[in-house]
Every structure is written in structure tokens, then in C-alpha cells.
């Protein structure tokens, strides 16, 4: 069975801004499905429509076999939603927030304690602290607890790790894996490409369009270029000079390094590239082939489109 089915979904805000154009995908039950893409790509719009907070302009969307427009009330009881911005009450304590949302869902904390226990255990030392005073990671854990408190069949997590430190991010994903084991389907979005590999399947989304849907492994295997990393002193001045290098290639900054992908006859182009660097007097430390990450794949897919 499908937990989410979306067909030709369109959303136009104020008759002007096209936030989604012809988005179609499905999420199987028990899957962790990732929406990956830069900010402003339409991820939050999809979440808002699925959470029945926003009406689609056209197209179909169903959650747990129920239509988001007509069966909003039923859907609301079956899903847990964690919005992109912290939306709990900052002046209520951790425990008060949890009790409040449990009551709103006609549920009690003790009924679903087993489900949230691993997260709740980390929150217990802070249970009398006001939610607004928590760290970013703790805030998200509390929000997740509140979203899980009524044992939803589907979790919608809109950028749960944005603004969270790397250690807490890794922890958060461990928690998600755990939640998946309890049979809960998870739709999660993230702007961090490295997190995409932790999903069963991902959809790469940009400017309201889905570029690719597949498992992270398949997406990485489908990478067509030959990717090299090069360490230079000033990435951007080198990129400026590379404009004169007229063999087909694709280069972009990647952290402190520069990634460059060649598409035809990599050995020959690589030699040309090395001599080009020497001609231009560009000093570089390291030039070595690497395995593409999801981010490299994403960039390739965007450029080739």
C-alpha cells in the first residue's frame, strides 16, 4: 500500500508564484522518503498540502488513501507533522508542551511512551525548562516527541535538522531509523545532501519540479561524469580562470575544494587540464579522482537538465 500518493500536483500562490509544477511521486508504507533540494524548491509547500494546511491549485494528493482536500479531518488524526520552523510554545516547559499536544490529540503520554521513550529519555533532564530556552537539537527532539505522541501512521518532517549541529543531526537520523522500525512511514525533507543517503528513496526537487526519484545508491551509480577533486588556494579566482578552458567539463566549489567532472575521454581531457593549470600558473596541491556524493549527482542533474 502507498502511504502518500501525489499526482500532477500544482500550487500557484496569489496567481503569480508557481511553487510546484506537476509534482508526482509516491511513498510506500514503512519507507523513509526524502525530499532533497535547496531552499525555495517547494519542499515546504508539499508538506503543507499533505498536512492539509494548504489547498493544491490542481492535481491529486492522498495520504493513507485519503484525499487531502476532502478528508482533511481524518488525515489530521493519522499524521504527525513537524513544521520547518519551531512551532511549539516557547514559554511552556518541555513537559507542559508535551502534555498539551498529547491532550489535543486525545491521547496520554503513558499510552505511547514506548514509542517516544528513546527521545524522551534525553529530554527528561530538561523537562522543567522552557521550550524556548532549549538548544536547536533539543527543540527538534521535543517537536518530534509532540508529533509522535498520538502514534501517527505517517510522520511529515519538514527540514527537521536545519539549524542543528552535526552531532545532533546524526542522532536525529538514528532516531528516525528507530521510528521506521516501529512501522511508521516517514517523509522528510532536508537541504543537506549528506543526509539523503540515510533515506530509502529520495526525490531531488528544484524550483518546484522533481528532477529525479530513486534510491540514493542508484542515483550515485547513475552518475555519468568522471569526477576529480582539486585543492587550490583561491577557489573562486581559479573558477574565473577556468572559463577559458574549452573542453566539456563541469566545475563547482565543494567546501574548500573544487570539484570538476569530465564527460568524454577523461584521460586526455585530464592531461589538457593539467597543462592548462600550468599555463595559467595555478598552484594546486592535490588532483585526484573521487566517488560522487549525492550533492555531485544533484549538481549534475541540474546542469544537464
Amino acid at each position: 500500500m502507498k502511504a502518500i500518493e501525489i499526482e500532477n500536483l500544482n500550487k500557484i500562490y496569489n496567481n503569480r508564484v508557481q511553487a510546484l509544477s506537476d509534482v508526482s511521486f509516491y511513498v510506500s508504507e514503512g519507507e523513509v522518503f526524502g525530499l532533497v533540494g535547496p531552499d525555495g524548491g517547494g519542499k515546504s509547500t508539499i508538506f503543507n498540502i499533505l498536512a492539509t494546511l494548504l489547498l493544491p491549485t490542481s492535481g491529486q494528493a492522498s495520504v493513507l488513501s485519503r484525499d487531502v482536500v476532502n478528508d482533511a479531518k481524518i488525515i489530521r488524526q493519522l499524521i504527525g507533522y513537524l513544521p520547518g520552523v519551531f512551532s511549539l510554545y516557547p514559554d511552556l516547559t518541555v513537559e507542559e508542551n508535551l502534555i498539551f499536544f498529547a491532550t489535543m490529540y486525545k491521547s496520554r503520554i503513558k499510552d505511547n511512551l514506548p514509542l517516544i521513550r528513546p527521545i524522551w529519555k534525553q529530554l527528561v533532564p530538561f523537562k522543567d525548562r522552557r521550550a524556548g530556552k532549549l538548544s536547536g537539537g533539543m527543540k527538534q527532539k521535543l517537536a518530534l516527541c509532540c508529533a509522535l505522541i498520538h502514534k501517527p501512521a505517517l510522520l511529515l518532517l519538514d527540514e527537521p535538522t536545519t539549524g542543528v549541529d552535526p552531532v545532533s543531526r546524526a542522532e536525529f537520523w538514528d532516531i528516525l531509523t528507530n521510528i521506521q522500525k516501529q512501522g511508521i512511514t516517514v517523509l522528510v525533507s532536508t537541504p543537506y545532501m549528506d543526509e539523503a543517503t540515510r533515506c530509502d528513496r529520495i526525490a531531488l526537487i528544484q524550483e518546484g519540479k522533481i528532477i529525479k526519484i530513486d534510491t540514493p545508491t542508484n542515483i550515485m551509480e547513475a552518475y555519468r561524469g568522471f569526477l576529480y577533486t582539486i585543492k587550490v588556494e583561491n577557489v573562486f579566482s581559479v573558477m574565473e580562470k577556468l572559463k577559458e578552458f574549452d573542453f566539456p567539463c563541469n566545475y563547482y566549489p565543494y567546501g574548500q575544494e573544487l570539484h570538476i567532472a569530465f564527460y568524454e575521454a577523461p584521460e586526455i581531457v585530464l592531461q589538457k587540464f593539467c597543462s592548462f593549470l600550468r599555463e595559467q600558473n595555478i598552484k594546486f596541491e592535490e588532483l585526484s579522482p573521487i566517488q560522487p556524493t549525492i550533492e555531485d549527482c544533484f549538481i549534475e542533474l541540474v546542469k544537464l537538465k
Binding site: 500562490y13 498536512a51 492539509t52 494546511l53 494548504l54 489547498l55 479531518k73 489530521r76 488524526q77 499524521i79 507533522y81 513544521p83 520552523v85 519551531f86 512551532s87 511549539l88 510554545y89 516557547p90 514559554d91 511552556l92 507542559e96 502534555i99 498539551f100 499536544f101 491532550t103 489535543m104 490529540y105 486525545k106 509532540c146
Partner: protein, 367 residues
């Protein structure tokens, strides 16, 4: 039901933990009543006057003593001619000059008609009209005391009879107005700001996607602020009765019921405002400009409605404060009951019903 109690509890926690706002809200009515009571006053004490007594007989003496004995006037000079009166106006800052005709006693007793000339400084219209009224009251008293046993005296002209507020105490005028203002601030403003805050921070979305009934969300928002506003109203009434001797002629329970209905109306105005705006700041601006200002200007609280252009008089009908102030004045000062003011109650109640219904529809509206 458990959900409603939980929403109420949450709302009280918000109020309790925001100490500064809570203190401000409770201090505001006290400060406003004391401020208006002691400073902004249309009541005038010890106005300087001149008296030109052309008859100088026993009756004119009695009248002058009476004037001097009142708190309202202070006789600063006794000019000898009318031209000296003019001098007094210019140099002694008198507000009023009184000329008692010659043969005053004789005219009163024989001709049964005497004319006292009153000259006022009308550069400040309000002061002049208030002083004129005070003077008429004193003349009235004078006639009653001196000629009431005399059957012939019944033929005297009675100038004005001032009802309900014979001393024209300003406290009677502004206490109802302040109650209205405070209730607008506490119920309408606070309701709209806190609702807009929930919209702004996103917690409203979290609430909306829970299965909780929308009515509970709205009731849960209104009740705490109505309660707070109720406390403020009690504070205002207690201070105005104790400090300023404001009468409460009508039934106190009925008075509080009237306040309750008005609170409901202003809370519903707050709800509808928050439904129209996106941020707390907008909510505040709209409530101040759209509700608070009209309450000050168009309710008849500070400026009489009868003197306004037709357009503004018509506009005033749409703001709840006008109806409330008419009703509460009737209850507090005239002692009116339900039968006299049911019309105003009904208007306020209908306003509240319409606005709450619209808010209920709007709260869940999706783009």
C-alpha cells in the same frame, strides 16, 4: 472537554509567565482612573468672579454669601461700575462677572421678577458653560431657600433643572468611558495580539492540525482575557466608588452582566482582527487604529456625539463602545434595569455573534 481545559490552562500560563504585560494590564485601569479623576477634569473649582452689587440690600447679601460659600466661585473684586468689570476681565483673570440690579429685594418681592446680569468669558466655551450652569444651580437654591414657604414665590421662573449629575462631576462622565477603553485594551487588543502571535510563531498551525474542535480554540482564547478584563473592571468600579464617590445606582450584578456582554463583543472584535492580519504588530496597529481610536473619539466618551458631522455620527453606530457607554451610564447613574437598556445589550450581543461566527469560519481557511 479535557482539551478545552488544557487550552485554558495553557493560556493562563502564557498570561502568568508574561509578568510585565500582566502588571501593565492590571496597573493600567488604576492609573487611568486616578489620572482622569485628578487631572483631566471638566469640574471647575474656585473660579474667580467679580460682583457689582447695585442694590446692596439684605437679599443680595444672602445671594452673594451663597455664591462665596460655594466651592465653585471665589469673589475677587467688587467693582463700582461696569467699566471696572471690563478691567477685571482683562487684568484679574475673572471668568464671570455678576451684576445685581438696584432694588433687588424690592423687585423680587413686589414685581416678582428680577434680572441678574451674568457676563462670562467665553474664550473657553467649556469653562463658560460649566460656570453658567453652576451659577444657575446656586440661583435656584437661593430662590428655593428664600421663597419656598412663600406661596407667591411659586411664580418664579425656574431656569434649568440638572438631573443625575447636578454638580456636573466629571468623574461620572469618564468612568464609563474608561471601563470601555480598558475592556477594549484587555479583551480586544490582548486577544488579537495573542492570536496573531500564535499565527506568527506557527503554533496556530500546530493547533489546527490536531483534531481539537475549533470552537475550543476560540473559547480557550477568549475566556482568560475576559476574566482579566473583568478584574480590571472591578478595579475601576472600586476605585471610582471609593476615591471619587461615583454612584452605582443600578443593580451591581446587572452592571457586571452588561460589562460581560461588552467584553464578549470586544473579544470578538479582537478575534476578527487577528483573523485578518498576519503578525502581532499588524494586530496591534489595526486594533489601535480601528477600534481603540474610534472608542476614544466616537463613543461620546470625551467628545459629545451630537456635535459631530452626520457621517461620524453614523460611523459611531458600528463601534460597540458607543452603545456600551450609553447603557453603562444609564445603569450606573440613572439606575436603569434590563427593560430600559435591553436594546443596547441586544446590539452588542448581535455584534459578538456575527463576528465570532465569521472568525470560526475564517480560522480554518486555507489558501
Amino acid at each position: 472537554m479535557r482539551e478545552l481545559l488544557m487550552i485554558l490552562r495553557k493560556e493562563f500560563i502564557h498570561i502568568w509567565r508574561d509578568r510585565i504585560t500582566l502588571l501593565l494590564v492590571l496597573a493600567l485601569p488604576i492609573v487611568l482612573v486616578l489620572f482622569f479623576g485628578f487631572t483631566i477634569s471638566t469640574e471647575i473649582k474656585n473660579a474667580k468672579i467679580s460682583v457689582l452689587d447695585l442694590s446692596n440690600d439684605s437679599k443680595s447679601k444672602i445671594l452673594l454669601n451663597k455664591i462665596a460659600a460655594s466651592n465653585y466661585f471665589q469673589i475677587v473684586s467688587y467693582p463700582n461700575s461696569e467699566s471696572e468689570i471690563d478691567f477685571d476681565f482683562k487684568n484679574k483673570n475673572i471668568k464671570l462677572a455678576i451684576i445685581i440690579p438696584s432694588n433687588f429685594e424690592n423687585k423680587l418681592e413686589v414685581e416678582k421678577k428680577a434680572t441678574i446680569q451674568v457676563i462670562s468669558d467665553v474664550s473657553d466655551i467649556n469653562v463658560a458653560s460649566v460656570l453658567n450652569s453652576y451659577f444657575r444651580v446656586i440661583i435656584n437654591d437661593f430662590l428655593n431657600e428664600n421663597y419656598v414657604t412663600n406661596s407667591e414665590a411659586a411664580t418664579f421662573e425656574v431656569i434649568t433643572q440638572m438631573l443625575y449629575n447636578p454638580e456636573m462631576k466629571s468623574v461620572y462622565m469618564f468612568v464609563p468611558g474608561i471601563i470601555a477603553l480598558i475592556m477594549i485594551i484587555v479583551t480586544a487588543l490582548m486577544t488579537s495580539i495573542t492570536l496573531a502571535r500564535e499565527k506568527e510563531t506557527g503554533s496556530m498551525r500546530m493547533l489546527l492540525i490536531t483534531p481539537v474542535k475549533k470552537v475550543y480554540i476560540i473559547i480557550g482564547k477568549i475566556i482568560p482575557y475576559m476574566l482579566l478584563s473583568f478584574i480590571c473592571t472591578l478595579l475601576i468600579i472600586i476605585i471610582s466608588v471609593w476615591v471619587f464617590n461615583m454612584p452605582v445606582e443600578g443593580n451591581l450584578a446587572f452592571l457586571l452582566f452588561l460589562c460581560f456582554v461588552f467584553m464578549l463583543t470586544s473579544a470578538s472584535f479582537g478575534m476578527i482582527i487577528s483573523a485578518l492580519v498576519r503578525t502581532q504588530l499588524d494586530a496591534m496597529m489595526v486594533t489601535m487604529m480601528g477600534l481603540f481610536l474610534p472608542t476614544v473619539l466616537l463613543s461620546g466618551f470625551l467628545f459629545p456625539l451630537d456635535n459631530m458631522p452626520q457621517l461620524f455620527q453614523a460611523l459611531a453606530h458600528f463601534f460597540p463602545a458607543k452603545w456600551f457607554i450609553i447603557a453603562i451610564k444609564d445603569v450606573m447613574i440613572k439606575g436603569s434595569g434590563f427593560m430600559e437598556i435591553w436594546k443596547y445589550l441586544l446590539i452588542l450581543f448581535i455584534m459578538a455573534c456575527i463576528l465570532i461566527t465569521i472568525s470560526l469560519i475564517r480560522i480554518d481557511k486555507k489558501e
